[in-house]
Amino acid sequence: MTKAIRVAGLHKAFGRTHALDGLDLSVATGQVHGFLGPNGAGKSTAIRVLLGLLRADSGTAELLGGDPWADAVALHRRVAYVPGDVTLWRNLSGGEVIDLYGRLRGGLDRDRRAELTERFELDPTKKGRTYSKGNRQKVALVAAFASDVELLILDEPTSGLDPLMEEVFRGCVSEARAAGRTILLSSHILSEVEALCDRVSIIRKGRTVESGTLAELRHLTRTSISAELAGPPGAIAQLPGVHEVEVRGPRISLQADTDKLDAVLRSLAQSGVRSLTSSPPTLEELFLRHYANPGAVR
């Protein structure tokens, strides 16, 4: 499988702050890749390196097979970027900015532009200063999704969008993927990532702490189980991979490492199960686990 983005051991320091500290990132062509991390983890810095706006101190970065610094202009013809905080020129209308950006990329699909303007309910005649934050965001999103490009780099693109527009955005991402485009989606909205992304990379303090499909990542976390048992629970608490066991009468609740589920269920079945609920780990849990304990990968 070809890679749209390939980053290995990337370092970037601003003075004494190490914004990137050996970042690895690999995004396969045609996939939607979620890029997660707490504030200040280095997501935007990584994106700015990929866009050739910053020069990495060390490590390698490859964008669409080229060098993001040296081949910036040629590569940018094939890339559309939406920053998390869009600033527009006061005296230019939204429509003018969309068309300018389109021309400065690979070109703009006229019909698609009209359709997207409609779907995002954007008034393109307003001047930059008079747009609200959400509407500025829409200007950049329309410009990006209407552009004829191979790769979309979206840095928290939905900040300021209302839930309806968020839904339109999700539709646009799905269409872009269906059209064979690659998307790097940096986001804080986990439901968004869960719904859209094929793969996820979690970074923390400038380093990648986890990367894989959501299924793979889930595998590394715990499933919550609560059950009503016919008999005593036995030695279930001693099983490997079982945590936070709580017994209250016939009811038991526990957390099990997802890869140890099989043994846990067997043990429960031996006690006789009257009812059982289990909930898979949410991305939130995944996220919190990585953010809360430094260095804990597993």
Binding site: L53, R77, R90, L92, G95, L100, R105, T125
Partner: protein, 530 residues
């Protein structure tokens, strides 16, 4: 407690804290412009007889009156007020407009005001705090001037200090109105700046015509009022009441306008724009962003040229063959080689061309620093994420800045020629002859932005220093080595003098090109500022 003013104190402290570097520098510049004069005037015109001769010459010479205003006395104090008063008032006006707009319209435009206004902040508090910040700065400048000159006569020192401070506050009140009218801080500053420029031109035109400064044109201009305070020459205190009345009227208007609009809105609202755009390149965008300012500068330079050109004959007729005047013109930078009407006219035109060119340096700095504003305003980042190289991006803005400075100097030359009514070619050559020096300053600004973007605003200091060296440097008898720091010092003054050698033009243009190349190289290599 008046809830309309709630939070004024907190906002004022915020303003003073934000201005803690900028305001003191401005205050010192305003004060030092005046306070550096007595010593040097004393060394040049030490005896009473010399000063009397100076006074007679100045009174007789319209062109010098146009520049500095009429002299009302031959004491060192009166000469200081004459030489520095109007310029200090002008600078105090610029300082005030920057402070007021910075804490009113700029805050609203950036959206920061919204956050503040949602707190315990009254409707009138932001404007009041901004005006109080301006009052603090002007009072400090007035105090420094008064204290520094007190030894030359307490009444005169107080009159000059109050006059300069009052001029500053009058323009602060004007800026307060402009900040209500426009939606953009840039436009509010430009509008107020244009009024200050018009005040200077009116005063200059009035003083060129009337030896005692009694022209109606002078009396229209607040800067004319400043000279009519007549510090150190039988002070006319009632003139200060004019400032108070005009400022009060403007403040009433500003508060009335402020009460009738919403936060962030204005009386000159943005009209809807086209739904489709034709802009197709970074260069076209740069032109689009800068063309309005360039148009304003072009009109201003053309008008100033016509006015100054029109003053030329009146200025020279009165003088005739006067060795003393020649010396003074030479000291101001003209080249009065031989006596005669034509030579004096040439010297006057050369002085004006030099002055306009130094102001053009301010234009080129503002145009080049647009790059810096685009970058720190986060607009460059998404633009450069498109297929736009940094050289293209910077090239567009630099082309406007360097081409635009050539255009405004060309128009100033045309204006001078048209106003004077003869030798338009010579006048154009005079202003365009200064272009290499303007370019050097523009290239320095580009280099600052390219190499040390955080300190790009230092380019204003470069232009300001060149302006100060050219304007007051010769009068201060500074050593030539210091005067030579300004690129303008190396260009021959045209028209007049001997046939100029090409060497300085070529050398300065080459220097500008080299600096520009270094600037672009540095820009290509560095990280984009976040």
């Amino acid at each position: 407690m008046n809830t309309q003013l709630a939070g004024t104190g907190a906002l004022l402290r915020l303003a003073l804290r934000r201005d803690r570097v900028m305001a003191p520098v401005w205050i010192l510049v305003v004060a030092m412009l005046v306070l550096s004069l007595p010593g040097s005037l004393e060394s040049v015109y030490g005896t009473a007889a010399e000063r009397e001769r100076l006074l007679a010459t100045m009174t007789a010479n319209g062109s010098l009156r146009a520049l500095y205003g009429p002299v009302f006395g031959d004491s060192i104090g009166a000469l200081t007020a004459w030489r520095g008063g109007v310029f200090a008032g002008l600078l105090a006006g610029v300082m005030s407009l920057v402070i007021v707009v910075r804490h009113t319209r700029e805050e609203e435009e950036s959206g920061r005001q919204e956050l503040l206004s949602a707190a315990m902040v009254g409707r009138r508090a932001p404007l009041t705090a901004a005006l109080l910040a301006a009052l603090t700065a002007n009072a400090a400048a007035a105090l420094l001037v008064t204290a520094g000159l007190a030894g030359r006569g307490a009444a005169g020192a107080l009159a000059l200090g109050l006059g300069i401070g009052a001029t500053g506050m009058l323009f602060a009140a004007l800026a307060a109105i402009a900040a209500q009218l426009t939606e953009s801080a840039r436009l509010a500053k430009g509008l107020t700046g244009a009024f200050i420029g018009a005040a200077f031109v009116l005063r200059a035109a009035g003083d060129a015509g009337a030896p005692d400064g009694g022209s109606a044109l002078t009396w229209i201009s607040p800067l004319g009022w400043l000279e009519h305070v007549r510090a150190f020459a039988a002070e006319r205190w009632w003139v200060l009441a004019l400032f108070a009345a005009a400022s009060a009227a403007q403040l009433v208007a500003a508060y009335a306008l402020a009460a009738r609009r919403d936060v962030g809105m204005s009386f000159l609202p943005a009209r809807p724009g086209p739904a489709r755009g034709r802009l197709g390149s970074a260069g076209a965008l740069a032109w689009r962003l800068q063309r309005g300012a360039l148009l304003g500068w072009s009109l201003g330079f053309l008008a100033a040229g016509v006015v100054f050109g029109g003053m030329t004959d009146g200025a020279t007729e009165l003088v005739g063959d006067n060795a003393r005047t020649r010396e003074i013109i030479e000291r101001m930078g003209g080249q009065a080689g031989q006596a005669g009407q034509g030579v004096l006219a040439d010297a006057f035109l050369a002085t004006m061309a030099g002055m306009l060119a130094m102001v053009a340096a301010l234009y080129i700095v503002s145009a080049v620093l647009r790059l810096s504003a685009e970058e720190s305003g986060q607009r460059a980042e998404p633009l450069l994420a498109n297929a736009v190289g940094r050289l293209r991006w910077a090239g567009g803005h630099l082309a406007v800045a360097f081409g635009g400075s050539a255009l405004i100097l060309l128009l100033a030359g045309l204006g001078l020629g048209i106003g004077h009514g003869e030798d338009i070619g010579g006048a154009v050559a005079a202003t365009l002859g200064q272009l290499p020096a303007v370019w050097v300053i523009g290239a320095l600004a580009a280099l600052l932005h390219g190499a040390v973007p955080r300190f790009a605003v230092a380019a204003w200091a470069v232009a300001g220093a060149a302006l100060a060296l050219g304007w007051v440097g010769p009068a201060l008898n500074l050593p030539q080595a210091v005067l030579d720091l300004s690129p303008f010092a190396h260009l021959p003054k045209l028209p007049g003098g001997q046939d100029p050698s090409w060497a300085p033009f070529v050398a300065l243009t080459a220097l500008a090109a080299a600096l520009l190349a270094a600037a672009l190289t540095a820009l290509r290599r560095r990280d984009l500022a976040a």
